[in-house]
Symmetry: C2
Subunit: 202 residues, 2 copies
Amino acid sequence: MSHHGLLLVLSGPSGVGKGTLVSLLTETDKNVVVSVSATTRAPRAGEIHGKSYYFLSQEEFARMEGAGEFLEFSHHFGNGYGTPKQTVLNAMAEGKTVLLEIDVNGALAVKQAMPESVLIMIAPPDFKALKDRLTKRNTESAEVIANRISRAAFELSKTELYDYVVVNDNLTEALENIQAIILAEKSKTARSGETIKKIMEE
Amino acid sequence: MSHHGLLLVLSGPSGVGKGTLVSLLTETDKNVVVSVSATTRAPRAGEIHGKSYYFLSQEEFARMEGAGEFLEFSHHFGNGYGTPKQTVLNAMAEGKTVLLEIDVNGALAVKQAMPESVLIMIAPPDFKALKDRLTKRNTESAEVIANRISRAAFELSKTELYDYVVVNDNLTEALENIQAIILAEKSKTARSGETIKKIMEE
């Protein structure tokens, strides 16, 4: 209906099920696409340039960073990670719903750059359940787990800065909740200039 | 999830299918209730006090109007019509989604009194289709029809002042669209203080 797509930013602590929700959203709605990030880190086995990531040289990343070509970016352990602005804008111009799965700092940077973006925090029913889930994974060291838990508490403490909070207690219900947000956001009058113009046509 | 209900205001021109949508919304979701208006006009055959309307004396209506006990009110042909504030607030305190089916002037008055209210304009796919529908009814005089059409144009011209616009091209889709808006609005962080508090509990 609208000629402009939607930019949906999903955040949430590790272990909350973001990845599964993102997969289900793209599978159930062909109009939903996931934004591919850029990174300077080396590709891992099986990763495909332009699909898993855009693998960039340090020089190219620095150039794009300096030229303001990222919607948001960060550096971890010497590697750059960023969301290329132009690919997001191109997909939105095609009317796509673009999903970004990024952390709180990235999400707030996107909101500042594009106030029309929609920020959704995926949250556990309660923090205790999340702690249990992270602890039971058992594949990581106690230190890594402790880091994840304190990071999770930080992310969730920023929930009020988001537009929506979706509790992932039940995967189907959480998926329906996000789909409802997409449909509702598309019906906002602020995004429906073309629709309103068409209604008034005689 | 939230301990506070939602106030949903539906407007739209005559013939757009508002009444059918209101019925379907209450039938498919037991949590949705329609606000009963107050009026000074005489009950018609079959109308029940407290269900069709609250039938009030001119004196009682004037008293409530003066005391600010209406969320919105208007006078037509010597009769008063108003939405009693307290019954809406009571239903919301019970967590209900309260529907008001009122005109543009009433809706904008409600938004001013309660900025958290959600205004939805139900619109035809295009104005021509609505004109055809109103004209074909054939049960009313040309003058009544002409009045309806000019009133419809006025109502639709205010769409941008609403939060959402739902095009009623297909009844099922329009119903799903409103249901999505209800679910999305309930997930807004601004309404989810209790949910967020619960998430952070350890």
